[in-house]
Symmetry: C2
């Protein structure tokens, strides 16, 4: 195996082109096998193997600095920079993250998992080099949809004025996660069609030197291309055409589905070209009832419009769903800032926008939520997906959306606990005209009570008391309402009294009347929230009871970035199991209990 000889990028430099091509084939097989076992980003990594080999062949890493955008196309880079064991040895598949990680290798500069950051980061690295009088190359590798994010543009705009070496590699595979959306991609197409020769050139207009390479999956061509830009003395763009999913036919054909795959998809019969086996129909999920709801509403009302910032697959906005919606659907590309402002204006214009965003990516929009949306009290429906404590990478945590969203004036942030509540909230939110409404889509398996919810959500901050008890009140928000119920049963069973249980429904305020009513027969209130405690929901309850005899305990996540820590370990750490909560309750309750 050629790969046996490669421990660091320098080891590439003695290989022939034939050997490099063999290496690419070895790497491709390893990546498919590993990702098909663990799940992960497949298409982007298959597309960038040859470019990565050529890049490390021409440049000198770690002296030369390479910053990967999103970094979900860094697997080939990882294999070449001391981490091949994570791909060769199934037992070590889990050792390295799916993103760049400075603690793993001197060839990684940043922990990166959000898109559109590489150019800004590279500009800073290049400027620091200039201040220190260095001469090394600084590269940003961007593509795969990331160019539509505002931060990428802000970075390009500043990078162009750097007056020294910075090389932006645009990996153009004609795809974002789904199809590319936005005017820029028309220009990339024109440039591809003219092999980089069109006069109309986005990058040149910003002031970059510009080079084009039509075959990013040819190591030989890419070596020549990189040699042309190496040691450039001014800001330079190398626009490279690659094939997403290159080398795995089903990934080349089904680019969107193979962007990120679940284990087994690389050999699943679902993607056989002849006689594919249709997957068994899925049970109802929160994603499926969301899309069913939107489709039904959209048919009835032409003002309904669904919006996604380039992650439609994450919440079930399949190609079929999008096609059914037609002009009642917009994928704005990776552009959450625009998505929020756009939705706000749609609502002002009389439309009924439903915007779906991942918890971790709504972080890109604080100011738009504040200024474009909430200051203007536009009645949009914002669905926040994947908001929960999880074993995710440190770059994709869903624990910060409550602090982020719920402290913005005028916002109404709802936390449903079952199907019926969720559907009722959706219906209310879409039809009302007064509030910007966020709904934290449950992250649990779908739970149905079978009983229609009749709550009037226009009564803002009115909590629901689902069990009227004494001594202890348990407020379980959203995903953690079930945990609250479990704790309540344990308390009754082990401590011999029936506690009060409250489903707050709202994360943005306090039901003062209900809280006051607790004072006469309760001495302890506990709050449970599936997110970061700092700035979160529970602290509002603590503040409210600060000047009273009621004691309060807040349960939720610490303010920290966790990195692939198993969920059960996090629950132990944060005392989020019924047993540990019970222990804390026992310590906090007066001895008389």
């Amino acid at each position: 195996m050629i790969l046996d000889k490669i421990n660091m990028p320098n080891d590439l430099k003695n290989l022939t082109i034939d050997e490099l091509n063999t290496l690419a084939q070895e790497m491709r097989e390893l990546i498919v096998k590993k990702v098909n076992t663990t799940g992960g980003h497949l298409g982007p990594n298959l597309g960038i193997i040859e470019t990565t080999i050529a890049m490390h062949y021409v440049f000198n890493c770690p002296e030369d600095k390479i910053i990967f955008d999103v970094s979900h196309q860094c697997y080939p880079h990882k294999i070449l920079t001391g981490r091949k064991e994570g791909f060769l040895n199934p037992e070590k598949y889990g050792v390295f993250t799916g993103y760049t990680a400075p603690e793993e290798s001197p060839c990684d500069l940043f922990k990166v998992g959000h898109t559109s950051t590489s150019v800004s980061l590279a500009t800073g690295i290049a400027k620091a080099r200039d201040l220190a009088g260095g001469k090394e190359n600084v590269l940003a590798l961007i593509g795969d949809g990331s160019l539509s994010g505002g931060e990428a543009y802000e970075g390009l705009n500043n990078a162009a004025t750097l007056n020294s070496n910075i090389i932006i590699i645009v990996n153009d595979n004609d795809m974002s996660i789904a199809e590319n959306a936005g005017g820029l991609y028309q220009n990339l197409k024109l440039l591809r069609d003219t092999k980089g020769k069109a006069e109309l050139n986005f990058f040149k207009s910003l002031g970059f030197e510009y080079f084009y390479e039509d075959d990013g999956n040819s190591i030989e061509a890419m070596i020549e291309a990189f040699k042309k830009v190496k040691n450039a003395d001014r800001p330079t763009v190398l626009h490279v055409k690659t094939l997403k999913g290159c080398g795995l036919r089903r990934a080349e054909i089904n680019k969107e589905r193979f962007h990120y795959i679940m284990p087994g998809m690389a050999d699943s019969r679902e993607f056989d070209e002849i006689n594919p086996v249709k997957p068994a129909p899925q049970a109802e999920t929160y994603a499926s009832i969301t899309t069913d709801f939107i489709l039904k509403k959209a048919r009835e009302d032409k003002r309904i419009i669904a919006i996604s910032p380039a992650t439609p697959g994450a919440y079930g906005f399949t190609k079929e769903f999008r096609e059914k919606l037609g002009n009642q659907y917009t994928d704005v590309g990776i552009a959450e800032e625009h998505a929020v402002a756009y939705a706000s204006a749609l609502a002002k214009g009389g439309a009924k926008p439903i915007l779906s965003v991942m918890s971790s990516f709504i972080q890109r929009t604080y100011d738009q939520l504040s200024q474009d949306l909430c200051l203007n009290t536009s009645p949009i429906t914002l669905l926040i997906h994947w908001g929960a404590i999880s074993g995710a990478d440190c770059t994709h945590l869903g624990t910060f959306d409550i602090p982020l969203i719920s402290n913005i004036p005028n916002m109404v942030y709802l936390a449903p606990t079952n199907k019926e509540e969720y559907l009722r909230m959706l219906e209310w939110s879409v039809e009302q005209n007064e509030h910007p409404v966020g709904i934290r889509v449950p992250f649990n398996a779908l739970k149905s009570t079978g009983v229609s919810d009749t709550t009037d959500y226009s009564k803002i901050n009115r909590f629901k008391m689902t069990q009227n008890g004494e001594k202890l009140a348990i407020i379980g928000a959203g995903n953690f309402y079930e945990l609250a119920m479990t704790v309540a049963q344990e308390v009754q069973c082990k401590l011999g009294f029936k506690p009060t249980v409250i489903n707050p429904l709202f994360l943005t305020g306090v039901d003062k009347e209900m809280m006051d009513s607790l004072k006469c027969s309760h001495s302890l209130v506990i709050t449970l929230e599936d997110g970061c405690l700092d700035g979160g929901f529970g602290e509002k309850i603590s503040r409210y009871f600060g000047n009273s005899d009621i004691r309060v305990l807040n349960f939720g996540a610490d303010k920290e970035f966790t990195d692939r820590v198993p969920l059960q370990e996090l629950y132990q750490r944060y005392h989020l199991t019924p047993e540990l909560i019970l222990e804390d309750i026992l310590k906090a309750l007066p001895i008389s209990v």
Copy 2:
């Protein structure tokens, strides 16, 4: 006066060009007089008078929709849309806001005060029109630096694909607040120099139809230009060259200083062309000690670099200061997202970045603070200016930076209370290598203790007890430390005991040891913070004491957008006067006191 006849834009349509020109002159005089009396944005409004008149002459507002970016160039629009009294009558100068405001006129669609939002908002309005089958024109008027913001680009990228009417007016006065920064502005210059004919065209590259008008200060020319784009059936850019400050010579010459003026500047002798009178040297301010500190450090250490996202004047980064720093200064343009990522990478590259941002504008960077900066624990110094409760416009409140910043893991957010603490914090922050550090620059008048601060700020979350007392502990953060001292004196005087006073220094955590030490001899803790309570500092204290006998009262601002409410009225509303705090203390303390 021609203006007597103008109550709504339609009234323009019967006027001759001569009359329109006279009207422009009348409006110019009114704007200079008004702004020179009240203070406000002058240069941008003087530059856009003729364009605004022509726009309202050609289009039909409010049927046609016009969205102003930042909206600090909306004064001429306000005069023509029913609000001329606010400029004619000195007694009504304060009646209308300096920004667009839907509650004032049907011709305003959004409350806008942050930049770079107009294209996104217009895209939403246009799409809503398309869904409803409407035919009206939708215009965004952007310029004056706003084009560098990421949201503007995200909006352009989506607007270009709209396939229907949207008209982006680019008001190109070759200036941001200070000089324009970024590659895009080279392209705008090329387009101006070639009267719009250059092949290399940023807007065309994104897919827009493009028109250029060289004389945006000619009503006649602009009428013709607007007629060309009216009823365009696809996304269109009209690039207009205007003169910032047009018609007031000193504003034309001193564009940056006359962007926003204080009362009297229009006739101050400081700007006389012959024998200008130098203003008296200013007393020391937090801005002046900041720039002195940066200049001194930068001379000693070439790795020091100061960064501003296009608002250098707001914190004393004068032209002279910038020139002295040379390549140790970057104005990234209006691009806070990039600014944070750039600073983070500079620090990773070994430089020592000091980034200054306004409290209200740091809102544009939550995700960059989280992912680019704090996840990577880059040691930058982030100076947050104007963070305080104030009588500002609803778009420029400085009350949300504590909730925004202090709940992000790894961040250290400091709140100095005097000159010596501030300088010590600056020195520590710049020289340390472990933490992303924010400093909330005091908004009070400068206060000097005359005694060097020797605190070791590497001991994170260690509060400072400045008065050791009993029963009551008053934690006064940053700007409100002085208020805490005043309250303490009142308590001693009126209640006859000496309370404890604490300067927390850190806004990002709790000094558990010190808090625990309070338990034996205190029954009440109060917190004072100059910002929004929800998600803020005080709630962390409330949570910490939730399960104890200590009662806690948090004082600070409610979660609301206030709009030019006088500061004293807000202090009354939030119980932030010594008298009202004392009343609340009396109610909360056990009767035995």
